[in-house]
Subunit: 215 residues, 2 copies
């Protein structure tokens, strides 16, 4: 009985995600959903990388957080349109929240929509929002054991960003351990090592974004 | 309708938490529930601090993770009894999982039970497991904006541990911002700055644990 309830919620959720995707397809835009633990550097990376996108690539960001508009404020100079979605006590963005976000954007003036999900390695991974691609961040200070501990998140990633690599040496980070764990669950997604602080790898991420076009 | 369903789940959950608490009270042990984002250093701090507890204080740890027994293995030399609970896709420990964990421990041989919750700043905060105290960790690399963004977590804390402070200088961490945000939601919980790497603050945390006795 309980399983049926969960299933029907997910079905409704997936149906709404498909509505969002078709709407974004019709508008000719590409949507990337960014997922990670809190504090892995999603906002900072966007501040750094969005201004590096090719001229004429018009961007917007939907930012999910339980509370505050801090992330949206940080991004207002980096993207043409920014919308903050506060989830209250919600542990992930839902497709219907994204639908409301789309309502408040001028979709005809967007080529790339970034969704910055709530910082959480578990719940957001289970919800398709209607995105075309998923980017998953893992910051070096979180430790080199997280791929094995949160496999669902990494399994569904289209690109994996290892962030804050400037701290790798001081933290004696074991990249091989991460690659070995990834090899068991996701061999398709490219892995980009980057540091928003030094700038290393940010161009590779910019190039990956630019290569994603609506199918 | 939907709200009623959620409510009844929480009521059942709270009832089970009370069962757990009474059972631990009867055994004369103190239970501390540790909550934080993934990679904030819960396991490392326990490895460092549990051996520093007073002689004769018998400890056990229930470790929650979606997958793997890595954290339990890391702790097997630091506590007399260690049990790993794998939640599968579950984003937090539930009181009934803790009840099963209690079944597999010899409660008569424990003075202190630590519950290391699933790494997640959102969902675990909503679930009483039957603990007597809550310890919430926030690591410096996660950023100084997290108290405002995840207020529920910090509101319910009995002690707040700012971890990995050895990285504060390199990351230009703003402690004042954290204290200002905490002043708005929780003025009762002591804040301990610590680093498992340098050892700074670990004794203060040890002393806080030692002072918690069953009421």
């Amino acid at each position: 009985m309980k399983i049926n309830v969960v299933k029907s919620v997910l079905d409704a959720s997936d149906a709404m995600a498909n509505v969002n995707r078709r709407r974004m397809d019709a508008a000719g835009l590409t949507c990337i959903n960014m997922l990670s633990a809190p504090g892995s550097g999603k906002t900072t990376l966007l501040q750094k990388s969005l201004p590096m996108l090719p001229d004429g690539m018009r961007t917007a960001v939907l930012v999910g957080d339980l509370q505050t508009t801090r992330d949206a404020e940080r991004l207002e100079n980096s993207a043409a349109q920014v919308v903050q979605i506060n989830t209250g006590s919600g542990c992930h963005l839902s497709p219907s929240q994204v639908e409301q976000g789309l309502d408040s954007l001028d979709l005809s003036a967007i080529d790339l929509l970034i969704i910055e999900n709530v910082g959480n390695m578990v719940c957001p991974a289970a919800f398709d929002l209607g995105e075309h691609r998923r980017a998953v961040l893992l910051s070096v200070p979180e430790g080199d054991d997280k791929v094995a501990k949160y496999p669902t998140l990494f399994q569904k990633a289209d690109v994996i960003l290892l962030t804050k690599i400037d701290l790798a040496e001081i933290l004696e980070y074991n990249f091989d351990r991460v690659y070995e764990d990834l090899a068991k669950i996701n061999t398709a997604a490219p892995v980009i090592r980057l540091s928003s602080k030094t700038g290393e790898g940010v161009e590779a991420w910019r190039d990956w974004i630019t290569a994603q076009r609506p199918e």
